[in-house]
Structure formats: C-alpha cells, structure tokens
Symmetry: C2
Subunit: 469 residues, 2 copies
C-alpha cells in the first residue's frame, strides 16, 4: 500500500500535485517502488489520502510525462522500466548472498511508512536525550577551539579515548588511551578488524544466532562463516571444541553481554573455557559489547579475563547516546591498535572529531549516568510488559533478559517464524524472524522482539488474533 504523508493544511505547503509527484518519484528513485509495480487505482489513492481524484489524475499524468510511470489502457499505472542499466559484471553469487541478512536492516532504515518496527535493534529516538544532544551540539559549535572543518587525528579525539580508558577500567579492562581507536560506529570497528585479520577462504567463527549485519560483512570478505551455537551462558564450549577439531578459525566474533538477539550474557565459567580454547587453538576473539551500557550491575567479559592480549574489544555509543553521531571504538593490544589505525586511515582517512567531541561532552557533563539509569528502568518495565504479553499470546521466551532491549521468543510447534513475520508485515508490523540471525539463514522458530516497540498495542492485537488466543 502506497501511503504518502501529504500536507493539506499548512499555508506554506507545496501544491498537492507536486507533493504527490515528489513522493512517488522519491520512492521510485530509491527503489522502494520497483519497475513493473502497479500503482494504487486513482479512486483508491484519492480516498485513502482524502484528496480529490483530479489531483491524483494530474499527478499520475505528470509522472508519465516524466518517464516514471507507464499508463496501460484499462489496467492502470505502473512504474516504468529503467533504461541504461550498466553492464557491470558482478563479482559472484556470494555478493548476492552476502546481503540476504542485511536486507532486513536496509528495509528498516529505509522504511518511513509508519510501520511498527518491533524487529529493529535501536530505541525510539524519544527515549534518548535528544535535547541534551542538541544543547551540546550548540555549545560545541560556539567554542572557538572546536575543529569544524579539518580532519581529525588518526586514532580519534584523545580526550574521548581517555574517557574510554576510564570506562574500560570500570569494567575491569586495562587499556591505555593509546590502545583505543575511535571508529564510525561499532560496525566500522568490526569491519576494520575483519579487514586486517581475514582473507578470502579463511574460517571465521560467529555466534549462532548472532548479529546479521556482521555476517553479511564477513561474507563480503569471502570467508567461511561457521556458527557456534549459543547457550544462555554464552557460546557452547562443547560445541566450540567439536568445531575446533574440524576448523582452524582465524577469529571468533562473539557478543558477551546482553547478546543480540538472545539477550543472554556470558558466565565466568564459559568465558574461561572459551579463552582456554582460544589459547590452545590460537585464534583471536573479537568481543562486541555494543549493549554494555544497558546492563545493570557487573557482567563478565572475555576482555576482562584476557586483558586485551588475545581479545579485541568493540564498543559503541550508538544505542544510548546517538546513532546519528556514528561513534564507536575498538580497544586492543598496542601494536595491533597501531596497525588497525592504519587500516582505518586507508579506508576513510579519519572519523569526525566534531562527533567525538560531542560524545566526550555528553559523557563528561554528568548526565550520562542518569540517562542510563532512566533507560535501564524504562527498559526493565518494557521487558516486563513484553514478557507478560508474549505469555498471554502463547509464545515461549528463551531466557528472561537481565537488561537491554531484546526478548527472544518462539511460537511452540512452529519450526519457522518467517511466516508469522510475513503476516505481521502485511499488518504493518515489522518483526525480526530467527533465520536472519542464523549465519546460514536457516529456518528458526525464534523471533527477536524490541521491548520498546512492543509496548504498542498493535503488536498484541496482531499476535493475539494471528496466534488465535
């Protein structure tokens, strides 16, 4: 269903015809509407948007004149085929496959239709400190010593790296600022590490289930992805050991605290076993701790035991402060930090010092602790709500989360949640079905629920009616 947001009220609005032409054109350009797709009939479109049919006729006609639509007599209007597609020889099927997991992320970032996004991995913007971010942006722009036009330093703004040194010390991880490299979000940190460590054909271990976008990225490097089954205590050590009898991985990318998607956290005993195996089989560990600040109280991390000898630690400020700023980091052994800084430079020259100073201000002005307390309380309530809701509609929960925004749950008797996700999509709700968290995209009964979005009554209505309770 094509739903445009039209401004029929304000005096400064563009003429309605222009708004419709612009809105449809944008969707065609951005490939939300693809060639051959049929547009809504004029009568339906007019009724749905509560506008005159003549307006719609004029807009469709103009889009035909512009080459965006084709009119087929008696059958309606269709998106026109594109001309001039290039003869680009694509690398291979592996690239197509690489994007399977990322497709859901792409769609959810692109989707502005008002669908309820219960499947996303971020909080609603109004849960975060938008006013604080705005205030600090203004404060920073007023300061004459803020670099606003020049490149940042290669490793990133030093005072923020020193803050991270202090924060890691709180987690029991000893790292000097010189061991910290600031990145364009945690995803770029993972990418830089992968780029440095891996080459096509290498074996790489990942959590199964795990972070889909990482799988897509690793596949682009042509590596062999091998999933290590996840238990409620972290990676399954027995399964890991068995896999190590067959494979020699270069690295194991894993997520210890409030694991995405299961929301479970690593136990000390499992951490020890995993590190023992890493030592014995000589592979590196890349520990993603993106959701660290949602965890109330202490938690176990591999980097805390290993002290960054064999572990590369990755963190982010995207989930609690701002995803728009794109500030993440990695911490590792000094020599490796120097090499990874070089990889960062050749791929993007530098990160934004302005964004890094902003994060520094947000962390040091004293409100960040309060923000985290507020988020943790609110998430705890939302999680409570979600657990009750899922119980009412008959879904079973993997493990009760100790924090964070995710609940991992399954419908008993179902072996594939893709169908439920499809039905939800048709009902205007985006769910994250389990197969996209599987390195091999295997069918799964599980779904990942974002508790902040699960508060919306549309979710319970949909699940209740679809699951027949």
């Amino acid at each position: 269903m094509l739903q445009l947001s039209l401004d029929t009220a304000s005096e400064t609005a563009l003429p309605l015809v222009d708004q419709i032409v612009g809105g449809i054109r944008a969707r065609i350009d951005d490939r939300v509407l693809r060639p051959g797709v049929r547009l809504p009939p004029i009568r339906g479109f007019a009724a749905q948007h509560e506008i005159s049919r003549f307006t719609v006729v004029e807009a469709y006609d103009r889009l035909v004149a512009l080459g965006y639509l084709q009119s087929r007599r008696g059958s309606g209007f269709y998106v026109a085929p594109r001309h001039g597609a290039p003869a680009v020889e694509q690398r291979s099927g592996e690239i197509e496959r690489a994007f399977d997991n990322a497709g859901v992320l792409h769609q959810s970032l692109e989707d502005t239709s008002g669908r309820l996004k219960v499947g996303v991995g971020w909080l609603p913007p109004d849960w975060l400190d938008e006013d604080g971010v705005r205030r600090n942006i203004r404060a920073l722009a007023r300061r004459s010593d803020t670099k606003v036009v020049s490149y940042g330093t290669p490793q990133g703004y030093r005072p923020l790296r020193e803050q991270i040194e202090l924060r890691l010390a709180d987690l029991g991880i000893g790292a000097r600022a010189g061991q910290v490299v600031l990145t364009h979000g945690a995803t770029q940190a993972l990418d830089i590490v992968a780029r440095y460590l891996l080459k096509a054909g290498d074996s790489v271990f990942v959590d199964d289930p795990g972070y889909w976008n990482l799988f897509a990225n690793l596949r682009l490097y042509g590596v062999n992805l091998i999933g290590v089954p996840r238990t409620a205590d972290g990676p399954d050590p027995e399964a890991l050991e068995k896999l190590l009898a067959e494979h020699r991985p270069k690295a194991f990318f894993t997520h210890s605290v409030l694991h995405n998607p299961t929301a479970s956290s690593l136990s000390p005993a499992t951490a020890f076993r995993v590190l023992q195996l890493a030592e014995k089989h000589d592979f590196l560990i890349v520990e993603d701790d993106t959701y660290a600040d949602f965890h109330p109280g202490p938690a176990t991390r591999l980097a805390q035991l290993d002290q960054l000898r064999r572990v590369i630690y990755v963190g982010s400020f995207s989930k609690t402060l701002s995803a728009s700023l794109r500030v993440g980091f990695l911490a590792c052994a000094p020599e490796l930090a120097a090499a990874l800084t070089d990889v960062k430079i050749v791929g993007c020259v530098s990160t934004s010092e302005f964004a890094e100073r902003l994060v520094y201000l947000m962390l040091t002005e004293g409100h960040y602790r309060k923000l985290l307390d507020r988020l943790q309380r609110r998430l705890a309530q939302a999680t409570e709500h979600s657990l009750r809701l899922l119980e009412r509609v008959g879904l079973s929960v993997y493990a009760e989360p100790k924090g964070g925004m995710f609940v991992w749950a399954a419908a008993p008797g179902s072996s594939d949640s893709a169908r439920l996700a499809g039905q939800a999509s048709a009902a205007g709700i985006m769910l994250a079905p389990g197969h996209i968290f599987s390195p091999q995209m295997q069918a799964s009964p599980w779904l990942r629920f974002n508790v902040a979005y699960a508060l919306d009554p549309r979710l319970e209505r949909f699940l209740g009616s679809t699951l027949g309770r």
Copy 2:
C-alpha cells in the same frame, strides 16, 4: 625535536609538570615517540620551553615511575619498551607494504608540532568558512526536525542527494538522486566501490602518479596495482593501450580534473580515447573528482561523456566545506547504486544524517558559490606565488595548474626527491616527495607543493639555502 605547547600564563592551566607528563605520555601512547627513542636532555628541554630545569626533572621522574620512560645512567631518558604485545599473526608482508604510501598521511594527520605542512592535500582551516559551519551547526541543532540520535537512511539524506543531482547536471552529468549514494568522505566511496568490484588477485589500473591513500587501500584488497602513466592531458592513451595488451583490469581508478598530484586536467580527446579503450576491453572506470569545485570554469570529465554507464563518479565536500563532517558521495548506474548501498550498510550501517543536513544547508543557503569564488581567487594568487618561488630556487614545474592547491615540481638533475624531503623534515617542513605518489613507490624527482602552505617564508628560506640559490 620534542616541542610541547605549554600554558605558562593562564590561571586555570594545569601545573607545568602535569602538562609535560600529559604531553609526553600522549605522544608515547600515540606512537609519535616510539620505544627506544631518546628524550631531549633536561637542560635543552628546559631552555627550549623556557621553564625551570627542576620542572623537567620532576616530569621525567614521574614518567619513569609510570613506566613510560627509562633512565639510563649518564646517557639520559629513553621511551620504555612496551610489554604485552600480542601474538597476532599478521596477514602477510603485503599488509606492511600496503601502508607504505599511507604512512605520510598518518604522520601529517598526527603531527601537531607546528611543522610547516607543505605536503598535505588540504587547505589551512582558516581559508574555509569556519564561522558559516559553526552557524549552520547551531541552526541545525535548534530545528526540531533534525534527527540527532537516530540512524540515517541507507543511501543518505535525500535533499542533499537532490542537490548533488542538480550540481552534477551543471557538470553535464545526468544522475537522478536515486543514483547517488552519500558516503563518509570520498575515500569511503572509493573503498565501497573497490570492495564491491574487486577480489584478491584482480588487476586494477591506477594513475601513476596518483592518490597514495587509494593505493594503500587497494593493496589491502590484495589486488595487482598497475600504474598508467599520466600526461598533462590525462592518462597516456598509448601507454594504456599497451598495458591492456598484457592485463585485463577490472577497473581503472583515475582522477580527471586538477589531478592529484600533478594538477593537470583531462582533455576531451584523451577522455574519448580512454572510454573507447574501456569499452573495447570491458573495464569500469572510477572517476575521482574530489577537487572539482576548485576548477574555475568548465572541465572535461569521463562521466560527462559516458553518463554513468561505465563510469562511477566520486565527489567530496571535504576540501571546500569541511573535512571534519566526512561527507562525500558516489554516483553511478541505478542497479549499481543499490548494490553499493548494501555494501555501505554492511560496512558502517549508515552515514551521519546530521553532517549531511549540514552540508545541504551550506550548499543551499547561498554562500557556497561566493566561498568557491574566494577560494579560487586566493588559490590563484598562491599558485602564482609558488610558481615564482619555485622558479627562483631552480625547480621546474610539470605543468602550470589551472586551479586547485597543488604544484608538481622537480629539481633538475635529481632523480629522487626523498633526500630533499628528508632535509626539509629536519628543518621542520613537511614535503610530499614523488615516490609516495607512485603505485610501486618508485624513486621520483618530483614533489607536490600545496600552494596555500607554500606562502610561508620558511619554505623559500629552506629551498633557497638547500638548493644553493
């Protein structure tokens, strides 16, 4: 020479000892001072900074206590060796080699010593519209519709893409906003394209001389770099044809307008020949147009002839607006734009919509044209100055630049400019010697001068005395 900037005047300054400890510690952490390096003697350091010797003794002693320095009896203070370096198996010698070209960039970004950076590829910050950037940052932060905490859309802020559509139309390149992908600077655009098109072992053509950071990046992908000799009219078509008899490149990365480093621009006849060869031998062209806005009046671009069928066009706002914002873009055929957007997502999720809105504001508020006029006039004067200076000291210029910030010049009779660059470095001047612009790091008599920094009288003094004129 270790030069710290110490604040001995203001009331709020840290104690001098703390300032010295912090300054030296930072340089050791950041590997500007490497293990084994000898620190300046206490007397010399004190005299140079006009402070008491007791202050220096106390600072050095504290750094020894912290494990940063070692005192060797009778010989002075040295940076201590590092402990706990990890057993990371590096991928291979190719990675080490990949960074050779990028080392200079790393150093010049890191260097805050006050050296005169005649070798860099950017303008002094005060040449740009710092006040305008600050003003627009504040304006943007006040607007309630500015997304400051959430992810941007995958392809990037649409109104900026529409602006780029208009700007490309001015250059004679037809591209809809849907064919434009916003990136974290032009360097990320080149990286995304490389990542999509190339695999280890592929042959890739590049300009020789050309953009060093690109060479380092391409080498990290394990590809075969083949330099296409550059003439004052663009790539040498005869040499290109000969190379095509031996190699089947996947792509040719080239820089058409105000080429880095020679400052020469592509002629229409050469453009036509290059495209003919691309058609015949079926390779793609990645056209870097980073310095586009410095070119006064019209210029020839491959994308203008080819209309993005076989050419992928890359642009940037880092040189004229702000390098801190990290906003660049690529434009290409629609199907390819969709695929490259996916590559962007898996590598970094999204670019910063805040930064993209800021660039949009700067482009549309009406001052950008005036800024460019001002920059072009100022650069023309600085180029004049540099050309006269280089003539006076006996360097010969490759071709008189038609705009931009570079002059490419050589000392007659010299076959390698590395020695001159080394002497300059010792005299506190950073020069860019020709070999770093060579894909194979071959010795070269040439040097790239940044005309904005060449205005500083230190350059002429150094060249005059060193070259003996």
